[in-house]
Symmetry: C2
Subunit: 539 residues, 2 copies
């Protein structure tokens, strides 16, 4: 054996040997599970003995939807997510701009949420940023990634200052004088990145490792990551793919990555599926997993597409990223090429469009075992959930969204619809395959906190939000382990601690099954183990 | 939709929609499940409406271990399985020989079981056959396939009459005068087939269809079949493979076949894995599934390898088909090539050898998700079952064997070991993936009868045999549906009636879940549906 982990409380999620104290690993594969006595008997002089010291070990936690490279960028850039006021946010940006003064660099802040501020809940304008950043180009992105603000210098560099409402495809907002107010919406947000040169493959590998190492430190052994066309849209794809492949083949990648390949246009998909066989795996850690398409925007930015009106802003209707015809055409190409499709949908209007599209292409060309899914699946009434089940779709949920969304959903869509939305309990009761994720960097990719919200439905105001829609701890754990493996057709090789599967483990300092769910927030990740190797260890 | 099945009692084995009355199918894929009203709404003028008239529909039943081509041969040859006496068996063979008189043909009887006879329980000798068949070459094979008898003419044609004990590798039995008594054992049985020319691909296709159509008539939508090197050992492989591939690619094959590729020698495996990629699928119905190796013989013939002695014949020890070193070498090649391995093992001695071999090759080259398994898994004590679980092996069981084996196991191995043998209850409780099969033509491939024995443990004497080792009806159904799909990595595409899986259904005239298990023996298969097409319909 290469390594024997012993003296642990090991929850395998396996019927045959539910709790064990020791596991033996060789070549990355689980060779034995059992008592210390029986597993230690397999040791040879070469075996590395790992004393778990009573720690709690579970199957490796996986995040089923996030943006690894945006996380890397966030880590590299200025964190404004903790700002409690508009003033504090502006102060942080002022400091960041001062550091860039005299260079070509931009002051880039990531993660603000004006709804959290106590002094103003307006999205800042370019003039707000000008006051603190002056002529250093500055940019702040909202936590949801669907809205951002540039200062005047940045707007000039981007060539957006001359845009006027009705005369441009850019999704901008305007001052009363007709000039852009610096606020960018939806896909226009991503245009900012195009100003910068595409990183080289070597630079991209470094960027990936920044995020990947952070992810490993959170106890995650794998992520389903949506990265393409986000670093420098329409240009970054070959570089990102190459960087991931090389990192996996050289085994430098600490965690497993299933790529949800974000495609912006129909021609982009056509070209991509020609060059990339569906579900291809490179090395032991990188899989080209799905085609990812955007359905709508975010609830906080009122860009999520609802069937009805926003209860608190009847003039807003949401922004579908593609019309039905285009969506159908994109689905058709991906489906016919054998690619599972995942679509970002928050509003029930977008969900309905996407379900219509899935129904259409599956009717045109019925295929077995496709695993098409919907990411977020937030605003839904029960008939829409029933339809979801009948189309055998996969639900990619983000329980941690509960914290913030609990404060706005009832206002946005009314309580009748809010009550049946984010209804994980009903999805599980209906047998839906539902996997957990963080949408990091929208939220931190902390799977334990995420599980806490899945179970407690706790809101930022300290009150549980429709707690009857919550799930059990066991179900929450399943969402972040087995179900994530299922989504990517990998449940035979990971997702439980089973003899003959890969040794993907998360080691915690507490038995989370025996404690109050609130203790999840005080639980520490001691080790993250991928294919038998420790990729993170707490200091 | 191509077809809509309605007005049924449809047990989907799916959590989301457990019982429905209608299913819609297009291009072989399940598109909708639900009430008659909602599913009928999907009909177009082209849709074929199939009124199930209240019949009971379940996921397509699968047999996880049989020999399709031996079944074809049995259907073509003379059935002696129903003979109740030695005399009756000889009378049937006499008639068969009379029909062959004056041709080159042989009188070939298949399926006798001397233990069922009331007038003699000795295996017939060549002289017995000479009396009724004269100089027409004659051959009778026992139901287990591990023992056969030739008459003198046949022994002469086979060149076996000059063999003498200790001077030949042939596994024969002898008269007191030292001449062969006509009885052939184990692999020597298969040498008889080598006397005949190998069928052409077209002949082989016809032979396959004889068995396949019979199988469909039993309600089976698929089989895991062990055929290679059984029609004409060491020569038939390319012809059988080609015939299956062509039948699948042209969609003439009525059922799905996962081939358990029987390999007799190490060089044979080496060559086979070079030419055939593991798990390759040809057309929509034929998959090259596993490498099949023989571990030991049969209990009735006392050729199964026990750790202890045969309680009723201490001089018998069983016949391992390969020594440990050879077994290990064969496993190594198959395992390293990525092939799941299945081994025929009946006795605990053979089981132990095979588990040692699996442990060795997995230790040498740990691989995830291999699905190595053991076919029969009969004589086991609890520690051996525990070891089975800890190696994560798959159990291919034949519940129908209970009928006959219940009459001999206690005598063969003693009651202490008999009590823990064939212990399906304990296997399921421990989470073992266990799939049902018939070993047809050893037993008839009737999955309903097979389920009856799984639940009732009924013996031929009308007494249940250790009924506490039996399983529930639901578990038995799972054994012949989902678990068979799991074994061949196909649980994502078949095994339950799930939207997005292939439309493989079995339609019965009774709701087997609501009736006494004994009613399984009176339940009629009304239709067998594979990839949405009816491949069998009761007249």
């Amino acid at each position: 054996m290469d390594r024997i982990f012993y003296n642990g409380q090991i929850k395998t999620m396996e019927k045959s040997y539910h709790m064990v104290s020791a596991v033996a690993v060789k070549n990355g594969v689980i060779m034995a599970c059992g008592s210390d006595e029986e597993v230690k008997a397999l040791a040879t002089p070469e075996t590395e003995m790992v004393d778990l010291k009573g720690a709690f070990m579970i199957p490796g936690l996986v995040d089923s939807h996030m943006h690894l490279l945006l996380l890397s960028n966030k880590i590299r850039r200025t964190d404004i997510s903790k700002a409690k006021t508009f003033k504090e946010c502006m102060e942080i940006m002022g400091k960041a701009a001062a550091e860039k003064k005299g260079t070509d660099g931009w002051a880039m802040g990531i993660g603000f949420n004006q709804d959290d501020w106590s002094d103003s809940t307006a999205v800042p304008s370019r003039k707000d940023l000008d006051e603190v950043c002056g002529d250093v180009p500055a940019y702040i992105e909202r936590c949801c990634g669907h809205i951002a603000t540039c200062n005047t210098k940045a707007m000039e560099l981007l060539g957006m200052m001359d845009a006027r409402e009705g005369e441009t495809d850019l999704k901008l907002r305007y001052f009363e004088d007709g000039t852009p107010n610096g606020v960018l919406c939806e896909d226009t947000v991503r245009l900012v990145e195009q100003y910068f040169p595409v990183p080289t493959v070597e630079e991209m590998k470094k960027l990936i490792l920044i995020g990947a190492n952070y992810i490993a430190s959170k106890g995650l052994t794998g992520v389903h990551s949506d990265d393409l066309n986000l670093v420098v849209p329409e240009k970054d794809m070959p570089v990102i793919m190459q960087a991931y492949k090389e990192l996996s083949e050289s085994d430098e990648l600490p965690i497993k990555v299933w790529q949800q390949c974000r495609m912006l246009t129909l021609p982009m998909i056509e070209e991509f599926v020609k060059e990339n066989p569906a579900k291809a795996k490179y090395g032991k850690k990188f899989t080209v997993s799905d085609i990812k398409i955007m359905g709508d925007g975010s609830l906080g930015a009122h860009t999520a597409v609802l069937r009805g009106k926003y209860a608190n802003a009847p003039e807003d209707v949401g922004i579908p990223l593609h019309d039905q015809e285009e969506l159908n055409a994109m689905f058709r190409v991906a489906h016919n090429a054998g690619y599972p499709i995942v679509v970002h949908c928050i509003g029930d209007g977008a969900l309905e469009m996407v379900m219509d599209g899935y129904e259409l292409v599956q009717n045109e060309n019925p295929k077995a075992n496709m695993h098409h899914g919907i990411i977020h699946c937030q605003i839904m009434d029960e008939p829409l959930q029933d339809r979801f089940v009948k189309q055998n779709l996969l639900a990619y949920a983000q329980p941690v969204f509960c914290r913030y969304d609990s404060q706005i959903v009832d206002d946005c869509v009314g309580s009748e619809l809010a009550k049946t939305s984010y209804n994980w309990r009903r999805f599980i009761d209906m047998g839906v395959h539902m996997m957990g994720g963080s949408d990091c960097p929208v939220e931190d990719c902390d799977p334990l906190a995420n599980m806490y919200y899945a179970v407690t439905r706790m809101g930022a105001d300290g009150k549980p939000w429709y707690p009857e829609n919550g799930i059990t701890m066991e179900e929450a754990l399943n969402m972040f382990t087995y179900e994530c493996a299922y989504a990517s057709f990998a449940e035979g090789e990971t997702g439980t601690i089973t003899i003959g599967k890969y040794a993907d483990f998360t080691v915690l300092d507490k038995n989370i099954m025996e404690n109050d769910p609130a203790e999840l927030l005080n639980t520490k990740v001691l080790m993250t183990i991928v294919n038998g190797k420790t990729v993170y260890e707490a200091k």
